[in-house]
């Protein structure tokens, strides 16, 4: 499989693969099908590049950064993580856009953790940034 893009894996074992130029529910062509992903069901988010999984983020990776009170909520009450993140970074010259990189990650406690894969080289970069 030469897939490049996200793979969102649900608790149920179902997987949603990134499709570019996918139609949405109204039939409009979209840059990606990220909107199809039910974030509450995601157990693992993966970022593939030319058929290789370059970054894998499990739900446990996100939970480890939660403060104790939030962690208790997640573990005892089963509160799902909904702050999964995916986006492209691109550049537009005139009216043509090219992808530079794809990122997956999550947000907890105001900090966004990202794994970014360069579209040309496949190089993986991990970053975190305080959002607020």
């Amino acid at each position: 499989m030469s897939h490049t893009g996200f793979v969102a894996r649900y608790w149920s074992g179902e997987a949603i693969f990134e499709r570019n130029g996918a139609p949405d529910a109204a039939g409009r062509i979209r840059a990606t099908n990220w909107a199809e992903v039910d974030l509450e069901k995601v157990d693992r988010l993966e970022l593939w590049w030319n058929g290789e999984p370059r970054a894998i983020i499990d739900r446990s990776d996100a939970l480890i950064d939660l403060n104790p009170a939030d962690l208790e909520n997640h573990l005892l009450q089963g509160t799902p993580i909904t702050d999964w993140v995916f986006f492209h970074s691109g550049i537009s010259d005139g009216n043509q856009t090219s992808i530079q990189s794809r990122s997956i990650g999550f947000v907890v406690n105001g900090t966004r953790y990202l794994a970014t894969v360069d579209e040309k080289t496949g190089r993986l970069t991990d970053t975190s940034a305080l959002l607020y």
Partner: protein
Amino acid sequence: MYLKAYDFVSGDDLGSPQVIDFGDVLQGRHNQRPTLLRAFPDTESSILDATLYLENKGGWPTAEFGCYVNPSFQPGVNPGSDLLSNHLAEVRDATYGMPNGRSIGMTDSTSGYVWLDVDLPTTQVGATSSVNFRIAYSYF
């Protein structure tokens, strides 16, 4: 993402340009034709952090390029206006997240209006120049 150009006097929609035309640019003067643009989502469900960069392809090594961004159309922003004195820094091969970009005020549906300006010093020798205005942004 796609761009639309607007008449700087009336604000009328001039369509989607493939090339930005400043008109004649003379030594010691600003461009004759102000350039007014807005960016819009195309296939993107959401656009974040859209930032404008200038890539000068040569010919005007000391020219200065002004930029002004406003959420709404504003008549009277002419070449040489003080509003356009906030200059763009030239960069090479701009990439997402590179410093010296200028936010174009992207919301869910559109960017702000973006005015562009050229000021060509009298020391400049006549030349033909190509300037690339590049927008870097994240989207899904």
